[in-house]
Symmetry: D3
Subunit: 242 residues, 6 copies
């Protein structure tokens, strides 16, 4: 099997993390997984949702959206159909849970951080790019709060990164681009911490099935990819340790 | 560790599948996983979504909803907030993908089957009960179409069942009730075929993390649970084979 | 004239009231009028709508919904069209007014009871079944509040039941099933108290007309039906008196 | 008992019907029941709803809306809450059914008439004014179609008018203004044809109850009021007979 | 060039302002620009939007809506499409800004005035009629508050009126009716104060273009029209001065 | 008066037009007016809105949206409030009209071009940047269609650019940044063609007023700014002439 862009099966696409991409967000990151480009902006708000009020704890949430022409054919905006896209709903819930796994709410104070992931260009792996870039934006926003004396300690417990893995023409491959993703027999998204623990594993037979061996092989491949991504995150964050 | 209802760690709750629960649906099933009760109705429609038109193939989709008082406190209806509940969205997409894994669309003709999963009472595991019961409703609807001569052959390729597994007080347990689910460190939903292949695996650290060993242990537990559920499905379907 | 199910013109369908049908609602009833099945759940909330705040009084309201496959052909869910079904709106307002006629708000304290009427299967008379079953659920919820010491006295003033009457092939008939209802020249819903007073009378010529004599005849038939229903409600409530 | 405006118990408020109130609608009427003012515009459209397509028959429907400041305190517009007011829903369904009772669809051809009832000022009885004025607008629109040769014969079978009756301080009164309506023990809306038949009867104990005698007395009062209104309609329509 | 109704190029249509058109609104005006009729109701509310809370200042806002049959063909109501008409949005923002230019918020106290502009009949110039009539309704509402002692001084700084101007068959014309407006090469709305200052100028080439000379000529024409309208407003307000 | 960034009163901010910013859109432009950054993507669709069907002509429309964190404080997404932002509505209508002024629909064939203007960062002048950048994206998309032989001739008649002008501390200034815009007494948006004609002029006293002299001075300033912008557009388009 030869991958469309000549990558090795366990090789990430070129990953690029640009911090400070926009100027207002407390944490702003443009993350690129090859041709996939996602703008991740972390915004701090001095309030929490009702279920956290009075707890002394903070909250982290995420929103995911594709710009209309992020894809080959133009997508109608959600507001014109008055419905949040169901795929977006599923993805933003995954991003939110993944980022929360990195955070110690008790160190945040009663404030919220919303991580907006707006896909400028989609070429597969937008959800894993969103988690990986969203984590960096989140860390930058926390850093800013600590630097400004609004939080005493960084509430981040560990790095969190995500990557897709899949089976394409019978072989396990890492970080699928759209051309691979649309023909994969199995598609799995792996979210892991810097210390190598799993945060989320979502594997689907894409209306097919997969075996236990394939599951094991794919998770191992995902571990490799996440470890590589954490290194790139560390670079982007100037070697920050948690 | 002792489970609230005294079950063994790898033991399902009492599972009850009542077929023909309502009279209009082509396939109607009330499925009970202990105190969890879901009404699964499969409806046949002689048309397909735009992306399948002219293909000669069919389609299967699912909708999931909780009745307002399926839970301890009353939930406002979606229509009153004008928004489909985000959790429901995520779940109905999972149900749809899982059921489609069981179906050969080329044998359906250009017709759709919608499986409505309405939760009458929720005590944990509503999504896995929906998949397990929804499959039986789907099979019954297909059977009816075959019996009436509208389809030549059953378009079902294999049984599909689902179960939740989790880690509670350090130990892996099968088919969590709400009391267990709300305190589990890891929560995983396993969807499998009758022949023991995976359709979907969704594991989450519930804003925490889990290890590779825990992942392996939980998937093994899920395999056991799904196998047990397929036997119960077979009974409900009079031993139907695919 | 012969009725499809052989009933006498002034005979109710078999009425069945199952209390405690679900476990979380303060009052839960499955009511069956023949093949019509409605789940009526009464939920208590420790707050009142704005117009009752500070009054020391309570409030009772109702919501009505048909499950998608309660009928011969599947109905799209309201949330998918983003609009509350107009027929449901009309019906839930009728249920709410009818139940409120039974209640002394000054004895409730500042709390609300919402009666959810979800139609599992519809074969005519869903609104009258909802009122009749909803009353039982409401009474059970009040009883629970009294038993728990949250209310001093039962705030129920009298029984309330409802039945449909109509003119079919020139003759007045009681409690129409769908086959009768869809061909009736006149259709009337009668809501009455246990002491034989009218709460609501809604008669329509179904885009036709009716005479004063027909109006009188139908209301008399409704009185008979409501009286029969109140006896059945009393049985279900263990002879409770107000 | 003395009525606020000195009327006799069976006396209508001053009724004024202005035809041709706006210039574009095929039938346009401003109807005044005392201080209640409703603009009723009948619009013809050369198409029918799906369930009438191919039937060769027409359809009549109604929409009801109150302008924001038709009442003592300003009402938020429906579009700002994204929900059709539930009271408006109930009323427009009543208006539609009432007007349809006057029409022979087979004489209309496959076209629709929508009667928009927009309340400019509300002082009780807006739904009965809407039906009474809407009928005149509908007749004018049909007349125009006949005059233009688009319909061969008038599809109107009979006059239809509506009036409210109620029990106020123990006595039956006709055509309640808001001050009376808001204190009435019983409130009933009677819709009748020119030949004295009932189209709709909707009586409510306003969260109280009423007796059979009261029901009879009120319907008799309504018959008197509707007969008076039909005479006024006839004048407005230049003595048109159906 | 000859105008359809024989007017001179700088001549307004017959303008008619009826005050007290409805009885509940604090200020109520029916304004007619020829066949264009707009009901302008000013409603006082004892609260302000969040961004004004605690400021001691008031606020003025406007809403614009066309009744379904204000035009030659019937328009579907916004609520049926669940979307505020985009043209209405644009217009009501213009009305709001225009009216606010006339007001000294510091003299209002923390209260809001909403000016509802409901178009009963549209024959061109509905937005300029809304501003011109809405101003009179606003002044009447303020006058009422002053008369009742709720405000000490009139918070109105100056008259505000609006008129449309356009280029039709090469010539500048004032106050276009629909027949002119739909064929105009340039269309401009001019909002001015009683003292001859501009509040808003909105000119569009209607998907064409215009020159600087045309811009100057049209604004001069608009000045003339606004001055004429202010005289008519003064008459309607009994010569009120600000 | 000294401008915050030291510009001369009639000087544009640094303008940067990056073509081909995303890869899927037929025309893709990132335009920067100083710190204001708008992504303008032109998408071709082989169909037209209903009012153009069968005309043989094309259509051009625009959509405008700000990303949640384009501004100093985060804005909730429209979809979460289920309402298109009213300011966005007003702006996208202006962009659409402005771009259509540049187009000869008869040369487009029956196809539509939608220009999506998504604001990544907002520092004043987002609507004028959207028009100026949107024009370039539109021209690129048309060029692509011509190059691919889908259109015979460029349907663009002339350049279209837009700039804001305003009065700040008594002096007319060009191309206001947010700090200036938020304190301007008058705010005007000028849209012009390459040949120096006006397409749109929208001036507002920002709840104040302005004189005829100020109007003239500001339009002259706008003419200068638009001419400068057209030169920059020409560079970006490789000197393309229409």
């Amino acid at each position: 099997m030869k991958r469309p862009d000549g990558r090795k099966v366990d090789e990430l696409r070129p990953i690029k993390i640009t911090t400070g991409y926009t100027k207002y967000a407390e944490g702003s990151v443009l993350i690129e997984f090859g041709e996939t480009k996602v703008l991740c902006n972390a915004s701090v708000e001095e309030s929490v949702p009702p279920f956290k009020r009075g707890s002394g704890e903070g909250w982290v949430t995420a929103e995911y959206n594709m710009l209309p022409r992020a894809t080959k054919t133009r997508n109608n905006r959600d507001i014109n159909r008055l419905k949040l896209n169901q795929r977006s709903t599923e993805i933003q819930r995954l991003i939110g849970r993944s980022l929360r796994a990195a955070v110690d709410f008790t160190l945040m104070g009663e404030r919220s951080i919303t991580v907006d992931c707006d896909v400028l260009q989609a070429d597969g792996g937008t959800r894993t790019a969103s988690i990986t870039g969203g984590f960096v934006a989140l860390a930058l926003a926390c850093k800013k709060l600590v630097d400004e004396g609004l939080m005493e300690n960084m509430p981040i417990k560990d790095y969190v990164a995500a990557v897709s893995v899949g089976i394409f023409e019978g072989e396990g491959i890492l970080d699928l681009c759209y051309a691979e993703d649309s023909h994969a027999q199995v598609d799995m998204n792996i979210v892991m911490t810097g210390s190598g623990k799993f945060v989320e594993v979502q594997g689907t037979g894409e209306e097919g099935t997969f075996t236990r061996d394939e599951l094991y092989m794919l998770t191992a491949l995902g571990e490799k990819g996440c470890a590589d991504l954490v290194e790139i995150q560390k670079d982007a964050l100037g070697g920050m340790e948690f």
